[in-house]
């Protein structure tokens, strides 16, 4: 078992809509170690995306403790969180979230623009990431010229190009057909096996979840390990 990257204790999240309180997460305890491939499964509304967003520093919990890489995310400002995300988190969205007016290269290069790398070094990193997901030859293509599966692979390349501490994937196969979904899952599995990349995958697809080494189930905001 690798170094402990994430330690969550008694984490809760409550949404307030008008005067109604909706408890989305309750008493979550979770440890993530370097090299883990964790799958968070659960039905819609079970709180899995909320948990992922909290780990990524995109959302804030209502209570509990959260230490990621020994950093206290709860005390960080929005801009500190943005810088922290750039260094440690690669995020893969369900809807790919590629910038339509930038090429695959331009999209993958985005996180590197915040680093001190030179133009040449950035190019090398981007091409390495694109080749890792099998799209080295499509660097100059715009998102509209790519299939859904290819778009998601570009999004994965963008997530790993800075060599982040962990990759967070939120329903990465949710918008894909079976064949494309398989390609994306193979890429994620390869990253975990070959490069020991820590991955947390949110999915409601049992097949996708089967790629993970650790499976957690969320039901009504409560974590159930299986």
């Amino acid at each position: 078992m690798g170094e402990k990257l994430i330690e969550i204790r008694g984490l809760s999240k409550v949404f307030r809509r008008d005067s109604v309180e909706i408890r989305v997460l309750a008493g979550i305890d979770l440890d993530v170690h370097a090299g883990d491939f964790i799958s968070l499964m659960g039905p819609s509304g079970s709180g899995k995306t909320t948990l992922l967003n909290i780990i990524a520093g995109i959302d804030r919990p209502s209570g509990g403790e959260l230490r990621v890489l020994d950093a206290d995310l709860l005390s960080m400002s929005e801009d500190e969180l943005a810088a922290w995300r750039n260094r440690h988190v690669g995020f893969v969205f369900q809807h790919f979230n590629l910038i339509p007016v930038l090429t695959a290269f331009g999209n993958v290069e985005l996180p590197l623009l915040l680093t001190p790398l030179s133009r040449r070094e950035r190019r090398e990193h981007v091409m390495t990431a694109l080749e890792l997901v099998g799209l080295g030859a499509r660097a100059d293509h715009y998102p509209r010229q790519l299939s859904g599966g290819e778009e998601q692979r570009v999004a994965i390349a963008r997530a790993i190009v800075t060599d982040p501490t962990f990759v967070l994937a939120d329903e990465p196969t949710g918008d894909l057909d079976a064949a494309s979904a398989e390609e994306v899952l193979q890429v994620l599995a390869g990253l975990n096996k070959e490069f020991r990349k820590t991955i947390i995958l949110v999915t409601h697809d049992p097949h996708a979840a089967s790629y993970a080494s650790v499976l957690h189930h969320l039901e009504k905001g409560v974590l159930v390990r299986r």
Binding site: I58, N97, L113
Partner: protein, 386 residues
């Protein structure tokens, strides 16, 4: 700029109809503003470029211009023989006694307007070396002959070469057309001093123009004239005198120009703001993605502000191109001190074009600031949830 400019450029290209409409709107605004600046610049240039260092205009004490100044002829020698007055090759003092009258004439467009007729002698030409006779010849002393500036000949009836104009008690034949290179004298017609003086029955001078031997001599002449209570005159540097006339002709136009620039600028700001709000709202997911990969709020703010600036500057370039054909076009406006027309050319200089671009950039920045701030302040989690 952390977020690459090509992101903004391509986003603008993708939404080209909206971008073009906004840039076009700003462009029209800039065209108006540049034209107004060209008008004011042309007017100011007319006065500021008039005169020579070391030359003085002598007026009656208390007069603000030549039209409402009169000087008895017996004072002419007192000025002519002041120490420090430069002399010509024959040893004659370079002092030109002149009379300025205002006559009413009909413009070629049928409107009635006033124009200045100056009576002067040969010395007046010596003191104005910028005068070029472009057609015909000089008037001859003792004859009812007149010369018109080229601008005046083009703007007023009966002022073309060979035509005759009636004013005062006589018919005056136009025998020459002159050009003084865009100075205030290009709004005048010139004739012999004695003929004008007699025909108007005004045995006085309106002003005297003299050349001093040096700058120090000019200062001394000014001091002597001001200090002599018998002559009751004032001597002003020729350049300063004409620069002082600028306000009378250009002041109102300038104020109107600023007013128009502000009003149309506010309208253009709203156009830019509308476009940028649309851009921000339709690109919420892109903004969220940028924030998610690590870009900070200030990066997003700078990016959208830059996008609005690009539209503004593009509009500025368009506006400058639209306004350029105005360069050199002749027009006239009233000088409310002399109640006569000042003729000038619209003058678009590189400085005016730069100010036009700066104005456009300011419109872009002001219009884009609030939408850019909104983009920067979007809560990442809210956008991601949507």
């Amino acid at each position: 700029m952390k977020i690459p400019l090509r992101y903004n450029l391509r986003s603008l290209l993708v939404r080209w109809p909206g971008s073009l409409m906004t840039a076009g709107g700003i462009g029209l605004t800039v065209a108006i503003v540049v034209t107004m600046m060209a008008l004011v610049g042309g007017l100011e240039n007319t006065f500021v470029d008039t005169g020579h260092d070391g030359q003085l205009v002598v007026l009656r004490q208390g007069s603000i211009n030549e039209v409402n100044s009169f000087i008895n002829r017996d004072l002419f020698p007192a000025v002519r023989f002041l120490p420090g007055v430069a002399r010509d090759g024959r040893g004659e003092p370079l002092v030109s006694g002149e009379i300025v009258v205002v006559i009413n004439n009909t413009r070629v467009d049928g409107q009635s307007s006033n124009m200045i007729v100056r009576g002067l002698t040969e010395t007046g030409f010596v003191l104005r070396p910028e005068v070029r006779i472009v057609a015909g010849r000089k008037f001859r002393p003792g004859l009812r002959e007149i010369m018109a500036s080229r601008a005046l000949a083009e703007r007023f009836r009966n002022m073309a070469l060979g035509e005759t104009i009636r004013f005062a008690r006589s018919q005056w034949k136009v025998v020459g057309i002159f050009d003084t290179g865009g100075t205030a004298y290009d709004s005048e017609a010139w004739a012999d001093y004695t003929e004008i003086s007699q025909d108007w029955d005004r045995p006085v001078y309106s002003s005297m123009l003299l050349r001093a031997e040096s700058a120090a001599a000019a200062d001394e002449i000014r001091r002597r004239v001001a200090a002599d209570p018998r002559i009751n005159l004032q001597a002003l540097p020729q350049r300063e005198y004409f620069a002082g006339q600028t306000g009378a002709a250009a002041g109102g136009t300038k104020a109107l120009g600023y007013f128009i620039a502000v009003v149309v600028g506010i309208g253009a700001c709203f156009a830019a703001m509308n476009m940028m709000y649309g851009a921000v709202m339709s690109r919420a997911a892109e903004i969220a993605t940028l924030r998610a990969v690590g870009f900070r709020r200030r990066h997003v703010l700078a990016s959208f502000l830059a996008e609005s600036l690009i539209v503004g500057v593009a509009g500025g370039v368009l506006g400058c191109l639209l306004a350029l054909p105005m360069h050199g076009i002749s027009s006239g406006t009233a000088n409310f001190q002399t109640y006569s027309e000042v003729l000038f050319n619209f003058r678009i200089t590189p400085g005016i074009l730069l100010r036009g671009l700066a104005y456009a950039a300011a419109v872009g920045a002001l219009g884009g600031y609030l939408p850019a701030r909104r983009a920067a302040r979007m809560k990442l989690i809210d956008v991601i949830r949507e």
